[in-house]
């Protein structure tokens, strides 16, 4: 067999490789250790875990993809879903970094996917992330992160961005909040109740600066709680613990600093009701015993 018929395809292949290599290098930077399709395949297990609400296992996969393919055009998948997972896992501070990167990458609400040739719309995912964060606003660090996310949005204006300002609007609404929930019944309680404080109550509340002695002592707070239990005619319960809790437990951003209150807990003495909802009495630092209000808490603006 003559080698000539093989020579022409070999030359064509060589020329193709020489001329196409710069274009390929432009689209796929050298930092990519795998082709684009491999990156998409690496994303799939994380996506399946997110569908199963296993955010703790999904997030490390997304983070590994970010490390492996930092320049990938479709890395917004990892950042946006990672942002969503962080909110679900209450890892608020890390959300700030992710959102800054998402907006720095020129996110406009829609991205054209070269692999699937479909439009990707991240606006709805970011709104879902905001909703997850809104549900956790009483957790430490959440309100500070909400404010930071609003600042990040303001620092990255994009006229074409869909749904501008999900966090700005949310932070704005939060600042107009007039009531805050400090305690509530269990989620499935047959008789739901909540204990809330208004901004005027918080402004007027007596403060405490630990380690100074509190203005009303633990013994007095506990005695007031015992009297309240008698007034409410709660039977078959015994004192189990007393807690001093800071109202605004966010160390980075406090709207009402140094406001503390007591929670005096009573547990059931009847073995059959050992796991029933405990009776909790809330006492402010001036001795005011807070009364529970019926129903689920609805913030007032």
């Amino acid at each position: 067999m003559s080698p000539r018929p093989l020579l022409i395809p070999a030359i064509i292949a060589l020329l193709t490789a020489l001329f196409c290599a710069p274009a390929q290098a432009y689209n796929q930077p050298e930092t990519w250790p795998q082709p684009l399709q491999d990156k998409a395949a690496a994303f799939q297990p994380a996506y399946q875990l997110i569908q199963q609400k296993d955010y703790a296992k999904a997030l490390p996969i997304l983070q590994q993809n970010i490390r492996d393919y930092p320049q990938a055009e479709t890395i917004d998948y990892e950042y946006v879903w990672g942002f969503y997972c962080l909110a679900q896992l209450s890892r608020f501070q890390e959300m700030e970094e992710y959102y800054a990167i998402i907006l720095q990458r020129g996110y406009t609400g829609e991205v054209r996917d070269k692999v699937t040739d479909m439009n990707r719309d991240w606006a709805s995912r970011i709104i879902e992330t905001r909703e997850a964060l809104e549900k956790r606003l009483d957790e430490p660090g959440a309100r500070h992160t909400l404010r930071k996310l609003a600042e990040i949005e303001a620092a990255h204006p994009a006229p074409g961005r869909k749904q501008i300002g999900p966090f700005e609007r949310c932070y704005d609404a939060h600042r107009r909040r007039k009531t805050f929930c400090i305690g509530s019944s269990e989620p499935n309680s047959l008789r739901p109740w909540h204990i809330s404080l208004s901004t005027s109550e918080l402004t007027a509340a007596r403060k405490w600066h630990p380690p100074d002695p509190p203005s009303i002592s633990i013994g007095l707070a506990t005695a007031l709680a015992h009297k309240e239990i008698e007034l409410r005619k709660v039977r078959d319960v015994a004192f189990s613990s007393v807690t001093m809790r800071q109202f605004d437990s966010d160390p980075r951003h406090r709207e009402f600093p140094d406001i503390w209150y007591y929670i005096v807990e009573f547990s059931s003495t009847r073995p059959a009701l050992r796991f029933a909802e405990a009776a909790s009495i809330y006492v402010l630092m001036d001795g005011t015993v807070l009364q529970p209000r019926p129903g689920q808490f609805q913030p007032a603006y």
């Binding site: 189990s240 613990s241 001093m244 160390p251």
Partner: protein, 149 residues
């Protein structure tokens, strides 16, 4: 008589096993776990310390035997000795029953700690008994310690 010998042997073995179990006196046992998953710590409680710990006999009419401001100061001293600039976010007095003995203790949760210094040292929560004894954490997940025979 020969038929009863195996039964007698079993009974003797059981009696010896029971006696051995009774003489296994506990010295120290895991009370709380602190730290992180990667750096676990165990707060151990000695049986002698448990038995000697003061009681808060009448919470409805008396103050706890150890005042909270002193407990907070102990917690802050621990944090500052580890170079952590932090305050407290939560203080609770809890009661638990261990080996038929009531134990009252402070559980103080530290706040902030962005560098994770306290968590790495098992001091993100600090446990103080009602005589001011601070229960110190030891590295790792530890098991109960029994008296040597």
């Amino acid at each position: 008589m020969n038929r009863l010998l195996p039964l007698l042997a079993i009974m003797v073995c059981l009696a010896l096993a029971t006696a051995s179990a009774r003489s296994r006196t506990i010295v120290s046992f895991p009370f709380q776990n602190t730290g992180t998953g990667a750096d676990p710590w165990t707060v151990m409680l000695d049986r002698d310390v448990l038995l000697a710990s003061p009681q808060w006999t009448d919470p409805a009419a008396s103050e706890p035997p150890f005042p909270p401001d002193k407990a907070i100061q102990i917690a802050l001293d621990v944090a500052h000795s580890l170079s952590a600039t932090t305050g407290i976010s939560l203080l609770s007095i809890n009661k638990t029953t261990l080996y038929e003995t009531s134990l009252w203790y402070y559980e103080i949760t530290m706040e902030g700690d962005p560098a994770g210094i306290l968590k790495r040292n098992g001091c993100d929560k600090i446990y103080i008994l009602m005589d001011g004894t601070r229960l110190k954490p030891s590295p790792g997940r530890l098991d109960a310690v029994y008296e040597k025979q």
